[in-house]
């Protein structure tokens, strides 16, 4: 009698299986492989940048090398008070974003819950969100002045209107059956808003806050066009005036790094706040 298993092809080894998994549509990815790929994605451009500046003769005014940028960062930190620039920029972005969230979340909750509020406010919001935030600078200076609140206001204008619509959409995605089940259990309108709609939308809302935080950062340079004399965006604008390309690079990369760190913090908060959504992630 022949052994049936002997004829079967050898099971693919761990490596071969993982290589095959890389190309499979929506196949799960091993955690270590995922981390390795993310590192490659981040480091490969850095390496390419290094190689170009080392071996191609590019003028440093056009493309400074990673070393130049690192050196500039060090001088900025030790002589030019980089930490103060970071601090004030983080403050402006977070303040504008938080102010926006403070109003957008309740308003979006109402727009997503009541068709009447939606009919009243959504067209207006859709209209305003297409207006360029930069173009509001003269108006903001006229109305609010040139102190700290004007920078916060620009970030608010850039973030708020998108945020309202995204929050409303998150709220509309709460399944009707969840709401109706509460109704047939005798829940009042207020109880449904708080205990069902808001509770159910929380994970999506945190994601919306994360994404809009990213957008708030993209408005930093715009905001610091308004008579600023500190901040990362301001430093980039000033470096532009003196053609300090390495400082422009440093500023841009710093904003990216801070954004990435905040994004990761949001993702961590998501895992901790909503463990039931991530139960399948632990492998």
């Amino acid at each position: 009698m022949r052994d049936a298993t002997a004829a079967a092809p050898a099971a693919p080894t761990g490596l071969a299986r993982q290589l095959r998994a890389l190309g499979s549509i929506r196949a799960p990815l091993d955690r270590r492989v995922g981390t390795a790929l993310a590192l490659v994605g981040l480091l490969a451009p850095l390496l390419a940048w290094l190689l170009v500046t080392l071996y191609a003769s590019v003028n440093k005014v056009f493309l400074p090398g990673p070393g130049d940028v690192a050196l500039r960062l060090w001088h900025w930190w030790s002589e030019d008070n980089l930490s103060a620039d970071i601090g004030i920029s983080v403050f402006r972005v977070v303040a504008g974003w938080a102010l926006s969230a403070l109003i957008a979340v309740p308003l979006g909750l109402l727009i997503g819950t009541y068709r009447s509020v939606q009919a009243l406010l959504e067209p207006l919001t859709d209209f305003i969100r297409y207006m360029p935030a930069v173009a509001f600078i003269p108006l903001v200076m006229l109305w609010i002045g040139i102190d700290e609140s004007s920078k916060v206001a620009i970030i608010f204008i850039g973030t708020f209107f998108q945020m309202v619509l995204m929050v409303a959409e998150d709220v509309r995605r709460v399944p009707m059956a969840q709401i109706e089940a509460a109704q047939t259990m005798g829940a009042t309108r207020g109880e449904i808003l708080e205990q069902v709609i808001f509770a159910s939308a929380r994970p999506a809302l945190l994601d919306t806050l994360r994404v809009t935080m990213g957008w708030a950062w993209t408005y930093l340079v715009v905001a610091e066009l308004v008579a600023a004399n500190s901040g990362l965006g301001y430093a980039i604008i000033k470096a532009q005036r003196f053609l300090q390309t390495d400082k422009i690079f440093a500023g841009i990369l710093l904003i990216g790094a801070i954004g990435l760190a905040i994004d990761q913090a949001f993702r961590l908060a998501h895992r901790m706040a909503f463990p039931w959504l991530h139960a399948g992630d632990r492998r």
């Binding site: 109706e180 047939t184 259990m185 139960a279």
Partner: protein, 280 residues
């Protein structure tokens, strides 16, 4: 003299605005359900069976007629009429136990709360967990459970507040055939123990006969009650009754009637045409 029915639908009518012509979802529907009765409503899609159930639940308005529950007109949803939906009605951020005890968060159930009532609610939840076979998943979240287990939680949650009527809108429609059989015996057992009044909507004729003491057949265009059948089976059901001649005969009758009223004839004609074409 028989006692007044628990649920009375008197000439209930509802029309949806639609193009090209408005759709009559319910046309002069009369239905009485007695206390403790298990009534199933079956019919082709578009016959208004879900609309009728939702109207009784107060989730959907109607244009004419009256719906009375315990003699009082239905004006909106309320805890006396709990509803079990096909899916997506559980709260994924709460555990199974917290889902079942959700009513304890609501003022309607906690007005004049005493320590005795809290205790009885806790005991009630434990009893329901046991009854529905959910003790071992009491601390799990719904997305960790199979579809059948999720529906057990939904039923337990609906029963927690001791509703007068349990309204079930195709609650097993998304489950596989084996799980559905288990759920059938479970819901029969539970409704017997709880002496519940149940109105159960389904498109599955076998399910309607197996569960119902009476089967109400609705027909579309306009949505209406076509006929009502008393199920000639003992009150206590078991799976082997599905092979009984009475069961099979009633199933046949109802299926024929659904086909006759659903306007399926054109589809059959089409199929015959197609098979005729392929034979050529």
């Amino acid at each position: 003299m028989t006692p007044a029915p628990l649920v009375q639908c008197l000439g209930v009518g509802k029309t949806f605005a639609a193009r090209p012509a408005p759709i009559t979802a319910l046309s002069a529907v009369d239905l009485q359900v007695q206390d403790g009765e298990f009534v199933t409503i079956v019919g082709a899609s578009g016959c208004g069976k879900s609309t009728l159930l939702r109207a009784i639940g107060g989730l959907e308005g109607f244009d004419s007629g009256r719906i009375l529950v315990e003699g009082r007109a239905v004006r909106g949803p309320g805890p006396d009429r709990a509803m079990v939906f096909q899916n997506y009605s559980l709260y994924p951020w709460l555990t199974v136990t917290q889902n079942i005890r959700f009513t304890r968060r609501l003022a309607a159930h906690t007005a004049g709360r005493t320590s005795a009532s809290v205790e009885s609610a806790l005991g009630r939840c434990d009893a329901l967990l046991r009854l529905m076979g959910l003790q071992h998943v009491a601390q799990a979240h719904p997305n960790q459970l199979s579809g059948g287990m999720q529906q057990r939680v939904a039923i337990a949650r609906a029963l927690q507040g001791r509703p007068r009527i349990l309204l079930m809108d195709e609650p097993f429609g998304a489950l596989d055939a084996q799980t559905r059989e288990v759920m059938h015996d479970l819901i029969l057992h539970v409704s017997e123990l709880e002496r519940s009044t149940v109105i159960f909507v389904t498109h599955d004729v076998e399910e309607a006969i197996y569960l119902g003491k009476r089967v109400v057949l609705m027909a579309p265009r306009p949505g209406r009650i076509d006929s009502v059948y008393d199920v000639p089976l003992p009150a206590h059901r078991s799976q082997d009754m599905k092979q009984a001649p009475e069961f099979l005969a009633l199933r046949r009758t109802i299926l024929d009637r659904i086909r006759a009223t659903a306007g399926m004839k054109t589809d059959l004609d089409l199929l015959q045409q197609l098979s005729g074409l392929s034979a050529l």
